[in-house]
Symmetry: C2
Subunit: 188 residues, 2 copies
Amino acid sequence: MARWEPDSRGRLEQAALALYGERGFENTTVAEIAARAGLTERTFFRYFADKREVLFWGAGALQELLVSAVASAPDSAAPIDAVAAALEAAGALLQERREFALQRQTVIAANTELQERELVKLASLSAALAGTLRRRGVSDTAASLTAEAGIAVFKIAFERWVNESNQRDLPQLIRESFDELKAVTAGK
Amino acid sequence: MARWEPDSRGRLEQAALALYGERGFENTTVAEIAARAGLTERTFFRYFADKREVLFWGAGALQELLVSAVASAPDSAAPIDAVAAALEAAGALLQERREFALQRQTVIAANTELQERELVKLASLSAALAGTLRRRGVSDTAASLTAEAGIAVFKIAFERWVNESNQRDLPQLIRESFDELKAVTAGK
């Protein structure tokens, strides 16, 4: 394989996103994705359990990144600041895959089942963050509230990033949204 | 019908909750619920579209209550305080149905599909609250953040209410959780 060729996973991902965009997630088959990528179905299933996983396989890596960033924050960091820094780091990675993120978002917005799956993913991220905060000694309720607030900020910053035409980068939008959360909860 | 008999909807609800608890949501049929309630399947379908709706029919009323409470808050109320007051009012209603809420929670905790449905319900409540805040002149991002933060508080207060043995009432737990949210977002 020539060096400049994307790997099979990347080719399958690109083919799947293109097809979901063209004909809808529900009307696309694994056989079509594999054919578009110039690969076999068997190769597809080496990377993905099903066509939905093409959209969600990154969730595990995202969760690991967030958890390890919060776990390794300085002891002096307030929980909300540890979570904010972790989400900004995640935002910087997503920023590098903006094209993919936009395509993916369009596919998800068009399908109720995928939207539900996205909510489940965010709830898992929140639970993982809360668990990590508890292991840092944060009390039960404060850990849950901080994690939920962080995920809410992330979700809203992500929506702005995807929908606004002003092209600010995602880490910056996450930072701004955290500041705005502080303002609204302070009753401003 | 004697005056002390619960209405048909209430009887069906009680029968359904009892059966879901005994044999699991997925192993209960509408025919069994109707039989347990001493009613016909036809009567069941006059009140509920399916067996899942027994657990979710209250969501519409909850949403209306929250929206109208936020819409009618004094102009001087900060958005977060309008949302907090609305959620406390909703909490007071749920407090009166504590037994039902506990049974319902046990059923939902045992079933992934129902948990997903619950997440979708909470996301709808958040979107409805954000829309109401926007109509009060709150900016787009502040409205979304306030609504998401409010729903996060509600969710966490509800979990404490259901799981803690200390029997504090739900409006009080909602109030305390809002105060704790203010503390954690302030970096305390």
